[in-house]
């Protein structure tokens, strides 16, 4: 009898402890707690139309019908913001250089995103005018990356090089270095990309946003560019702006979620 009482007492104690433990850590009914930050990974996939971009070995066809190969496709993604229900997340020191030839450059993390539901990302293709006039820079903006005009200060916002049998150049080359940051010559473009489905940043894991960048969009709309007449664009002005108005349409979000 005494043993039974002892057993019962022990069992009661255990259950009491267990219950009290459960009470201390109840499962959260709210998927978006008030506070905390999570990670959102932006992953870029460079494409030509619906094909994946492959440097040097693949032939593609542009909107005008010209055949071409790509040897370089590099661009700046800067001033990244996520637009949420409760507020806007702004990445600090937000300068990224996406280089097709360097797989490690094709993604970056927004690591301190407040818990919230986000429906779109706003970013700049190119580098803001302030950093174009602020002297020597480092990191993604180091001129060593070859995305900087030395003779006419400023960043190359988007660089695409390649070859085309239709190119008007004697070596059949294609050179597009879009630059110019000031006033009417500005080639940096800010775009907002809506997610197919909203993402919820919470403790349940990292979110991923897949962004496709279409090389063909540079030559498509609103300005159809044919390689016979525009095979080199390498100075500020009308042609560079024509490219910029086109590449403003080159990004789309193909996936957003955990």
């Amino acid at each position: 009898m005494k043993k039974t009482i002892q057993t019962l007492f022990a069992a009661l104690m255990v259950s009491a402890i267990m219950t009290s433990c459960e009470k201390k850590d109840p499962p959260s009914p709210d998927p978006v707690p008030e506070d905390g930050t999570g990670k959102v990974k932006l992953e870029f996939a460079n494409k030509v139309g619906s094909s994946n971009l492959s440097l040097n070995d693949q032939s593609y066809v542009n909107e005008h019908g010209d055949t071409f190969k790509v040897s370089i496709f590099d661009y700046y993604i800067t001033n990244v913001k996520l637009n949420g229900a409760k507020g806007t997340y702004t990445e600090s020191e937000s300068y990224h250089l996406i280089k097709q030839e360097d797989a490690t450059s094709l993604s970056f993390d927004l690591s301190d995103v407040p818990y919230d539901t986000y429906t779109s990302v706003t970013l700049m293709i190119g580098v803001d005018s302030l950093r174009n006039v602020s002297g020597a820079q480092s990191g993604a903006l180091d001129p060593a990356h070859g995305m900087f005009w030395t003779w006419s200060t400023g960043y190359i916002m988007v660089k695409m090089e390649g070859t085309s049998p239709q190119s008007g150049a004697s070596n059949k080359g294609l050179i597009y270095h879009a630059a110019g940051f000031a006033g009417a010559n500005a080639t940096q473009r800010t775009v907002t990309l809506t997610f197919p489905t909203a993402i919820t940043v919470s403790k349940s894991g990292d979110n991923h946003v897949h962004i496709d960048a279409d090389v063909n969009a540079m030559f498509k709309s609103p300005n159809v560019i044919d390689f016979a007449s525009h095979y080199t664009i390498n100075s500020v002005g009308t042609n560079a702006k024509m490219l910029a108005d086109n590449y403003a349409n080159m990004l789309t979000v193909s996936y957003a979620g955990l």
Binding site: A136, A144, W151
Partner: protein, 349 residues
């Protein structure tokens, strides 16, 4: 005990010698001096303020070492100081155009580097907008130093002496293009020339006496030239076509190359006239050899095109005496304090 002392000496002595050897290489032979950008009285605020580039003796001396380092040229033959010589107010004496690596000839005359902090743009076409972005241009230009900036950084970063310099200047041994350019800006940014006879004249100091020709020259200068060559910097830093006939071969479109605007064809940055008597030859392509010929250009040599500046389009009406007196005045702009300042000289080897 004795043995311990001897072995101690054996260890310490080479260490002392080694450290001393290092010191000799790393520490500048000249002692620490305060460095600052001193804005001369009556001058406007400088365009470059060092707000994002803390000026220190360590940064300044590092910048000076870099400025005089030939390793910034592909074949290690040319430094910044090769085409910017102190005795010529950091212009290239006697060279209409300058030769870079392999004796390749550039297309424009090497300008004086006096008072760079007041310049809002750099190069004859003003293509560069910040003092810190200036050096990369000649380093990478195939006609000048012809070295990719990545290679330039690698060369400097491989040098233990430089590592020590960068640590002293920036707190750690990291060497990148940003730090190289910031250090160079510290050196070039405080090259102030404000102690010519003209300056002393304006400050009513001894040594500032003008003779009658120089006084008359100053009056004529203010009447005919100062609209563009604005005192006290002797430039308004605008871009103008001063009526030089465009070259028949290799025509230089000037500012238009930067802006893409046809209205800027053949326009170049108005050069400062400080130290002008020692920075010959003149004009963006060095085509004018003497001060007399430079003034004569504005009197009789102006070639009018659509973009020629209205102030010079019809020529400037000057007598022979006027011309002589203006030239006499221009010679008062030579600043021997500046060109002899040991602070800006190449460090002893």
């Amino acid at each position: 005990m004795k043995k311990a002392i001897i072995s101690g000496i054996c260890i310490l002595l080479p260490l002392v010698i080694w450290t001393a050897g290092c010191k000799k290489e790393t520490i500048d032979p000249r002692t620490w001096e305060p460095v600052a950008l001193n804005v001369p009285k009556g001058w406007p605020e400088p365009a470059y303020t060092f707000a994002n580039n803390k000026l220190t003796w360590e940064g300044f001396t590092l910048g000076r070492k870099l400025f005089y380092d030939v390793r910034f040229s592909r074949d290690s033959t040319v430094s910044c100081g090769s085409c910017h010589q102190q005795f010529a107010s950091f212009a290239h004496a006697g060279h209409d155009l300058s030769h870079g690596v392999d004796d390749r000839l550039g297309t424009r005359n090497s300008p004086s580097l006096a008072n760079m902090a007041w310049h809002s743009s750099f190069f004859w076409d003003g293509g560069v907008n910040n003092l810190e972005n200036q050096p990369i241009n000649p380093i990478q230009n195939p006609l000048e130093m012809d070295l990719p900036i990545t290679e330039a950084v690698n060369r400097i970063a491989a040098d233990a002496v430089y590592k020590a310099h960068f640590k002293r200047a920036f707190g750690d041994e990291t060497i990148n293009s940003q730090r190289i350019f910031k250090a160079m800006a510290q050196f070039m940014g405080i090259m102030v020339s404000a102690d010519s006879r003209y300056d002393k004249h304006e400050r009513n100091e001894t040594g500032g006496t003008f003779d009658t020709h120089e006084e008359r020259g100053l009056t004529l200068f203010r009447q005919h030239c100062a609209a563009c060559h604005k005192e006290p910097l002797f430039s308004d830093f605008s871009f103008r076509n001063n009526g030089l006939a465009p070259a028949i071969v290799m025509t230089d479109s000037g500012r238009a190359r930067i802006t893409g605007d046809m209205a800027d064809m053949y326009k170049f940055k108005v050069p400062s006239l400080r130290n002008i008597a020692i920075t010959q030859p003149y004009m963006h392509d060095g085509r004018v050899r003497t001060l007399e010929d430079a003034v004569e250009h504005y009197r009789t040599g102006v070639y009018a095109t659509v973009t020629t500046d209205p102030l010079v389009k019809d020529g400037i009406n000057l007598t022979d005496d006027d011309k002589k007196d203006i030239v006499a005045f221009l010679k008062t702009l030579t600043d021997s304090t500046f060109i002899n300042n040991p602070l800006f000289a190449e460090p002893g080897q």
